[in-house]
């Protein structure tokens, strides 16, 4: 029982981190672009924080803000100078460009910092406390808390603020939005900025205890994709719910995989593929996901 509860906590924390990434992807997806480069942005952001905090000796929060600013500018520039050039082209080209950027980000990190494991530079490290036999890591709790706060801000922002309404209008109909006087390019830039900022925060948490920073971190963004489909592509509620389920699935499979393996030969390391198995099942059974509307096609 203790094991189960312990797994539940870390599963929820992992799900919260995934949901930040998934949310970032969803915002851009509403502008019609499935961004495979999210992992790359996350990697660059997290490494920048770590480099500023450790090598340069900056305060962690200052480093975080500087890194957020840098990645946000990077994301906006990518949208403005590359993606907006092919606004009328098909989905496939845009997707492949983001995939290319993802690889470039990974190579950049590997070439400048190397492939060694390193700390993410956070001041809390492996701090935490026990309640009974349960261990609560500060990193996990902070991830859950900050994700919750960000989600509330998001929903208010999207439903109430002028900017949020403009973003939804652009997502609904690009040309009509431009016709009523919305500066669509600026709205797109802001969309990218928010998305990249959220992802950078997720990256810092993902590299916190008990994990550490490594170039493979970018793969976590790939795990947000099953979460997105499970929740329903394009739905913000779905993105969060899907991420929590995927995070729990991954951690529970990791915890009980060895036990199951004795009865059914599922092999070792199933937790890495469990999200994708969920993805395939969802696509076969209910392609619109949990919260998606049927017939909505963002193709």
């Amino acid at each position: 029982m203790i094991t189960f509860l312990q797994l539940l906590i870390s599963g929820l924390a992992l799900g919260a981190m995934y949901s930040l990434i998934a949310l970032g992807i969803t915002i851009i997806l509403q502008a019609g672009i499935l961004n495979f480069a999210q992992g790359g942005f996350m990697l660059v952001g997290a490494y920048l924080v770590s480099w500023l905090a450790i090598e340069q000796g900056w305060n962690f929060f200052l480093a975080l803000i500087a890194s957020l600013a840098a990645t946000v500018i990077f994301g906006m520039a990518f949208d403005r100078f590359i993606l907006s050039r092919l606004n009328n082209q098909n989905q496939f080209s845009v997707l492949m460009i983001t995939f290319g950027l993802n690889i470039i980000c990974e190579i950049f990190v590997q070439a400048t910092v190397g492939t060694d494991l390193r700390s993410n530079g956070d001041p809390w490290g492996k701090a935490g406390f026990n309640i009974g036999e349960l261990r609560f890591n500060l990193n996990d709790l902070l991830a859950i808390g900050i994700t919750g706060i960000l989600l509330v801000i998001f929903f208010i922002f999207f439903k109430i603020s002028k900017q949020g309404i403009a973003m939804r209008a652009v997502a609904l109909d690009f040309e009509a939005a431009a016709a009523v006087g919305i500066n669509v390019w600026r709205v797109n830039s802001i969309t990218w900025g928010i998305s990249v900022a959220v992802t950078t925060i997720a990256g810092v948490f993902l590299a916190g205890f008990p994990h550490s920073l490594e170039p493979g971190l970018g793969n976590a963004a790939f795990k947000a994709l099953p979460a997105l489909v499970l929740g329903g592509l394009g739905s913000t509620t779905g993105a969060v719910a899907g991420s929590l389920i995927i995070g729990l699935t991954e951690v529970l499979v990791a915890g009980y995989g060895e036990t199951v393996n004795k009865f059914i030969p599922i092999g070792s390391g199933v937790q890495a593929v469990a999200p994708y198995i969920v993805l395939l099942i969802v696509l076969l059974v209910r392609p619109q996901g949990l919260f998606g509307r049927k017939g909505v096609e963002r193709v």
Binding site: F92, I103, Q110, V229, S268, I277, L284, V299
Partner: protein, 401 residues
Amino acid sequence: MNLNKDDTIDGNALSDTETAINTAEAREYLNTHQVLPKPKWGWIICWVVIVVAFPLVFSNNKILLSIAVFGMIVAVGSLGMNILTGYTGQASLGHGFFLGVGAYTAAVLGGTSSNGSDLLGLNWSFLLWIPAAALVAGLIGAIVGPLALRLQGMYLILATVALVFIGLHLFSNLKNVTGGQGGRSFPAPNLGELNFATGGSIGPFFFNRDQLYYFLVAIILIPVALFVRNVMNSRAGRAFMAVRDREIAAELFGINLARTKVAAFIFSSALAGMTGALYSSYLRFAEPTLWGVNLSLQYVAIIIIGGLASVSGSIIGALLLTALPQLVELLTGSNPWQINFFPFVTSEVGARGLSTSLFNQLLYALFLILFLVFEPGGFIRIYRRVQIKLQKYLATNRLEQ
């Protein structure tokens, strides 16, 4: 050439057909009004001579020969990718999985199982394991294909990404087949006395390993390329393209969407399987992690850089991107003058910084982005544009004279 085409649509020519009852007349009509261009025998002979002479001239140049062999092997798979993505419009990142399936089918059927190891190996002839690799990969494509019917665009890409990750898990866990994390060696073709792994003589002539592979791969690639070209000029090919351009309109024309898409899937994965078998065999040894998303992306890059929906584009793209690593090696210090043209690239192994292999991947990604942004038609479109400009230039010159 354009003038000829216009002739056939001419109203007079059509009324001629009705009166051409006599077979001799009909034959004469067909000879003078051919729709399909006549084969240009001069060019064909030229190409045959180049293809046959290449390995004989460069018999000891391992680098050039291996580029040619790898390039032609990859070209087979790129043709498959182009059928699915370029012609039928079904974007997929699952090619790496099918390559892996083909490779391990070949390994199990053609490999040897030595004493003491758990690796499966049936030691069949390569005349069986190359077609079998295509067959097994095609069968799996037939299982996966119907999944594609329900999914479009992004959903299909996500599903194929999932397929690749699940495939990676299977490959690293089926230790009897793949050798687990340590990888396994792959069989070399064997024809009687002739062993492809070491080279051998056919009659009085001796051929080394690379030359033997070269001829084997050329014998496979050329019919495959011709076959794909001819299929794409036929009813079936036009059905593929109609599905790509507008699904609903295609269905309205009486094209069976489900059958066309599944056919494209099977066709594409069978070619991928064959490539996987040949590639791993020429590579000799591979680890299960090879068959991942990045490999799939390489094939996407090849068809985009070469040219979507183009047979020659697939082949050119495959050759170009296979030559790229060697070119990078050459330019970063492996040349006779020992000059590194890219000072930011280190050729030392294990050093921090931009190693040549990383630089390679970087170029791949950069080319992919640059082509998509500036020339989505790929290399073949650039070639055609230059060709047309040249023709115009020559034509105006002729008029002025």
